[in-house]
């Protein structure tokens, strides 16, 4: 019976609407009172049934919910024979509930669309070599899967066979399809635009990048800020307080009408729903545009950021450095090149890789006793000689003498914005390599937007030499730039700014910058979508897309503003209602309920505006 009533809440709402209309027609058009009275009576009874059941369930678990207030109010109206009020109030409450559900669904749609993109099935290779469609849960690591044109890639994996273009918008926000061939990485939830691929599953289900993004976003939309927890605690005491107030008013005035009107007016609906609604819409907008925001606390802090610290390599630059100039200080250049290539092929440092790629040497020597000097370079034995490859500090440590010519070259290279790699053989400087990293396109414009939005300090911290750093800072219009910084120096610099009262966001690629990402009020990771950075940071820019940063900042500002508006609307409405019940003659239960339900819809619709937010510049 209980379940039947609750299940048919919508039908009850409709029937009660029809009854109320019938009652008013017979009252005003035909002056046929008995029909009007009975129609309203029935409408009240069927209308209050689902509300009363919910109220009872709430009381059983010691919660004084809004249903409790409304039920008491309706019963009160019934007792004093005001069937018109009881019928209209129950109808408005049920109808409001229906509209709330509809509109709430809309505000949540952005995130739901994301979760619904999760793949559900896959074409898996069976033991006999044929492909069969199986449920996604039956796919394990190492399985071979076939992906057809138009289908979703079911797992994270590597292409074994075939070619095609994949639309990766679901995880990177990038609308242009990416070409995939044998050996390419593919990601779950992306869509194969053309071609056929055979892939080997490397990560499945919740462990895929897409799975983790969904999990994160789902958690984010329900993560509560301090303010929200306060509202929750407040409303826990607020509803019982309204109940007590109504009772006290009745005791003093003996006016049931007034007492039950207070119960209806005091409903805190818009207050408890206003903030979560802004939150879910804001995070939903971000998820659609390649910005992951982890909860409303993050939104609040990010919107107030006045200082942003950037890492250089991979953040402001593309992170794929290329050799720009080479100087050799020796007769036998081919041997020096071979030595250098041999040592550098031992390392996967980005600079080393750039050098190996540039030299393109095939004749490599065996390398012995490799010693990696942290923050310096590599020292190793090659062809019976001691070869050191690294920065100026390493050369100093190796006791290498720098000739006047070399010193001049170094100065020149640094001025041009190169990172330096020096090579010494048996203590003699033999090669100087200058390596440069391309700036990301449009970084300058994006930084200007951030400044316009109120970020006062744009700081660059880098492990690179000061010359390179200064050059980048000048080109991009940064306010401060510091080079030669180790990860711990960056963290110390950040804490110093924080102690001076700045609200700091740190933007980095998340691998070597994890201490700073964790320390900053807001850690922003340039995620290619695969790193641990997704977990440790507060904000993730998908596909390492720097241009999302102004959108992210603008969005958090808009969302924070939206939350405040909703709180003001909610509190304002309750105050106005309570004020008018004591000081006006037109206020009654029905109008109170109408305004109350109206205010809930207003905060939801206000929150919904965030779904369409775009930075306007």
């Amino acid at each position: 019976m209980q379940r039947f009533i609750l299940k048919n809440k919508r039908k009850i709402t409709l029937v009660s609407a029809v009854l109320i209309i019938a009652a008013f027609t017979s009252h005003y058009a035909f002056h046929f009172e008995p029909v009007a009275k009975w129609a309203l009576l029935i409408a009240s009874i069927i209308g209050v049934a689902p509300i009363a059941i919910q109220a009872f369930q709430a009381l059983r678990v010691k919660v004084v919910s809004i249903d409790v207030l409304v039920t008491i109010a309706v019963i009160g109206a019934f007792i004093i024979g005001n069937y018109e009020e009881s019928a209209i109030v129950t109808f408005l409450f049920l109808f409001g509930d229906y509209l709330e559900q509809r509109t709430l669904n809309k505000t949540r749609s952005a995130i739901r669309e994301l979760t619904e993109m999760a793949p559900e099935s896959a074409l898996k290779q069976m033991e006999d070599g044929s492909f069969e469609e199986v449920d996604i849960d039956e796919v394990g690591i190492g399985d071979i899967l076939r992906v057809l044109t138009g289908a979703k890639v079911p797992v994270d994996g590597v292409v074994l066979f075939g070619e095609g273009h994949v639309n990766e918008a679901s995880i990177t926000g990038e609308p242009l399809p990416a070409g995939k061939t044998v050996g390419s990485q593919v990601f779950a939830g992306t869509i194969l635009d053309n071609g056929t691929l055979h892939i080997e599953a490397q990560r499945v289900g919740e462990d895929t990048t897409f799975g983790r993004i969904i999990e994160l976003v789902e958690e984010a939309q329900d993560k509560k800020s301090e303010a929200e927890r306060f509202i929750d605690r407040f409303s826990k005491w607020y509803t019982p307080a309204v109940l007590v107030l109504g009772f006290v008013v009745w005791l003093i005035t003996r006016n049931i009408e007034l007492a039950i009107t207070i119960l209806v007016l005091g409903c805190p609906g818009a207050l408890v729903i206003g903030v979560p609604v802004s939150n879910v819409a804001g995070i939903g907008n971000g998820a659609r545009h390649g910005v992951l925001l982890k909860g409303s606390e993050v939104i609040h802090d990010f919107s107030r950021v006045d200082t942003m610290i950037f890492d250089k390599t991979g953040t402001l630059t593309q992170g794929a450095p290329k050799v720009a100039a080479v100087k050799l200080y020796t007769e036998d250049t081919s041997k020096t090149r071979s030595y250098l290539a041999s040592v550098e092929s031992q390392s996967d440092h980005p600079l080393a890789r750039a050098i190996v790629e540039h030299l393109n040497e095939t004749a490599l020597y065996p390398v012995d006793q490799t010693d990696v000097v942290k923050g310096g370079g590599i020292v190793a034995m090659v062809d019976g000689k001691r070869v050191a490859v690294g920065n100026a500090a390493l050369m100093n440590q190796e006791g290498v003498h720098l000739s006047e010519e070399a010193q001049k070259d170094i100065e020149q290279f640094e001025k041009e914005g190169n990172s330096l790699v020096l090579t010494s053989v048996d203590g003699q400087l033999q090669a100087l390599v200058g390596i440069r990293d391309q700036l990301r396109p449009k970084v300058r414009e994006d930084l200007a937007k951030l400044k316009k939005m109120g970020v006062k300090n744009l700081v660059l911290l880098s492990g690179d030499n000061q010359g390179t750093v200064d050059l980048v800072a000048k080109e991009l219009g940064l306010t401060q730039a510091h080079g030669n910084m180790l990860p711990e120096d960056k963290a110390a610099f950040l804490m110093d700014l924080q102690s001076k009262g700045y609200i700091v966001a740190f933007v980095g690629d998340g691998v070597n910058d994890s201490p700073s990402l964790a320390l900053a009020q807001i850690g922003i990771a340039m995620g290619s979508g695969t790193d641990v950075a997704i977990e440790t940071s507060d904000v993730v820019l998908m596909n390492s897309d720097f241009s999302r940063l102004p959108h992210a900042l603008g969005l958090t500002k808009a969302t924070a503003r939206n939350m405040k508006q909703n709180i003001v609307i909610a509190i304002g409405v309750v105050l106005v209602l309570l004020f008018s019940v004591f000081f006006s003659t037109w206020m009654n239960m029905s109008i109170g309920m109408l305004v109350h339900e109206g205010s809930i819809l207003v905060v939801i619709l206000n929150g919904m505006r965030l779904l369409r937010y775009k930075p306007n510049m």
Partner: protein, 75 residues
């Protein structure tokens, strides 16, 4: 101990959360500390002792309150 995730119909009132939480906390075999009912995603996540409690009991408790359970996963 097993981990259950239940997807419910859209929750509209924050007091629904308190109700569902209150009801599930009363079940024997529920790990109260892990119980998390989330409003926007309309999900219930909880660890439970499967020797004391069947997942059907949890589902039933919720649907008795009038909330439809759409999808359940247990791990």
């Amino acid at each position: 101990m097993k981990k259950a995730t239940l997807q419910l119909e859209t929750l509209t009132c924050p007091s629904c959360l308190a109700k569902i939480e209150g009801a599930l906390k009363g079940l024997d075999g529920i790990d109260k500390d892990t119980l998390n009912v989330s409003f926007n995603s309309s999900k219930v996540k909880v660890d439970f002792d499967d020797s004391k409690l069947a997942i059907e009991d949890i589902q039933q408790k919720i649907s008795k309150l009038g909330y439809e359970v759409k999808k359940t996963t247990v791990k």
